[in-house]
């Protein structure tokens, strides 16, 4: 049906609504070659299916490293990472590449579109790598992301916001079980950044699990109910935020000065 790809072995056994674990990091460390200190120093965390989680922390704290490891773009120095029940450490290089292609969507700060392919062609790459003709799915995504009319343009002729939409569509073409976004709004102005975030929020409402790295606490808390704070390669806080309907006066109060005398 419309080019959708069934995620065979990775569909987990849990119900569609009930919380079930999608990602688990256990005592993960990462020391880069030549790195004086570890980029990650013992990270253990579990991400539920359907969660929208934000990762925040100062520059160099290890956020991108964490995302890259979860994506299978790199391997940890020690510890284990399981995504959708698969222990990434047990996969060989080819297996890891296949895992990435089939199950992970990744959106970066600087889009990384191929300049000599049109928007549509860029979006279709991951599907073609799977040997799938996903034109129907691509059309659906173009429409959903509001970029149908620029589908045949080359990246150089797209605005930053449009390029990021194309990158999001490319990340979603294979219906990944996990969408990773590393500062997706970092290169965009406030308004365009908010639009891209709205888009991610819409995907989340449809059930997409999202792990987002951002420096913008306003945007993070708007959409993500969970904020993980990282510092020096460690998780220093894991906040699950509440979302009750509060009366305006319980959220904000304008103080008044009375006339004295």
């Amino acid at each position: 049906m419309d080019g959708r790809i069934v995620v065979g072995t990775f569909r987990d056994g849990g119900g569609e609504n009930g919380m079930s674990e999608l990602v688990r990091l256990t005592d993960v460390t990462k020391v880069y070659q030549g790195g004086l200190t570890g980029a990650l120093n013992g990270i253990s965390v579990s991400i539920e299916k359907g969660e929208f989680t934000a990762i925040m922390g100062p520059s160099g704290s290890g956020k991108s490293t964490m995302l890259n490891l979860v994506a299978g773009l790199d391997r940890p120095t020690s510890g284990t990472i399981a995504v959708g029940g698969t222990d990434l450490g047990k996969l060989g290089e080819a297996g890891l590449a296949r895992f990435r292609r089939d199950h992970i969507g990744f959106v970066f700060q600087f889009f990384y579109l191929l300049p000599n392919l049109t928007a549509l062609e860029n979006i279709l790459i991951p599907a073609q790598l799977m040997g799938n003709v996903a034109t129907a799915r691509a059309a659906e995504l173009l429409d959903q992301l509001g970029i149908t009319d620029v589908a045949d343009r080359y990246p150089a002729r797209l605005s930053g916001g449009q390029q990021q939409r194309v990158a999001v569509a490319r990340a979603l073409i294979n219906n990944p079980m996990l969408l990773l976004a590393d500062e997706p709004t970092g290169a965009l102005d406030t308004h365009t950044g908010e639009q891209v975030m709205e888009l991610l929020a819409g995907l989340h409402r449809q059930g997409q699990t999202i792990l987002l790295v951002t420096h913008d606490a306003k945007l993070a808390t708007r959409h993500a109910a969970r904020v993980i704070s990282v510092m020096d390669g460690k998780i220093v806080d894991d906040a699950r935020l509440e979302s009750p309907e509060r009366a305006p006066s319980d959220v904000i109060r304008v103080r008044t000065e009375e006339v004295s005398r």
Binding site: A217, V227, R246, P248, V254, T256, E258
Partner: protein
């Protein structure tokens, strides 16, 4: 916010009763201000005493009194509007005083305190975001913009806590003890 000039500003357009003044404020600021009707009446009385407002017509039923701006009130309002909001920044930084005091007794480790405060700010950001969303959905743009300002202020508070925790605030105090 100065209640005095707020009231003068609302009377600029048309004469109002005390409770109408309160309602106008609520329409603009959506119950985010903590002024009761008693304070409005007191303010109106003082403004009348100072000649900045005056009764418009006789008292109506149940003693309701319409007030209008006097020429002096008009002048005072214009002056206030023309003045930028300057002077010292008004802070009420309980948390900073808490941290300073704790630094003297908590063996220099304030990370827990900072983390708890950061979490409280994150929750506040979430609440403000939801309020802004609701205000926009209900077409209450004045309220939405006020909330936006509060979001930016809270973001700054959060960044401050981040700075304090990354410079290991508090540890230097412990060394000199």
């Amino acid at each position: 916010m100065s209640l005095k000039y707020g009231v003068l500003g609302l009377l600029k357009g048309e004469p109002l009763h005390g409770y109408e003044v309160k309602n106008r404020f609520e329409a603009m600021l959506g119950g985010t201000w903590d002024v009761n009707i008693g304070q409005i009446y007191t303010t109106l009385q003082r403004l009348e005493r100072d000649g900045l407002v005056r009764p418009a017509g006789p008292r109506g039923d149940r003693g309701k009194q319409l007030y209008e701006l006097s020429p002096e009130g008009q002048k005072a309002l214009d002056q206030w509007l023309a003045q930028p909001d300057s002077g010292p920044q008004q802070l009420h930084e309980d948390i900073y005083v808490k941290l300073l005091l704790a630094a003297r007794i908590a063996n220099g480790d304030l990370q827990g305190m900072l983390a708890r405060q950061k979490r409280a700010y994150l929750q506040r950001l979430r609440d403000l975001n939801r309020l802004e969303e609701r205000a926009r959905r209900d077409g209450r743009l004045d309220l939405a913009r006020l909330v936006r300002g509060a979001l930016l202020h809270t973001e700054a508070d959060l960044k401050w806590m981040d700075e304090l925790s990354s410079e290991r605030f508090g540890t230097e105090g412990a060394k000199t003890e």
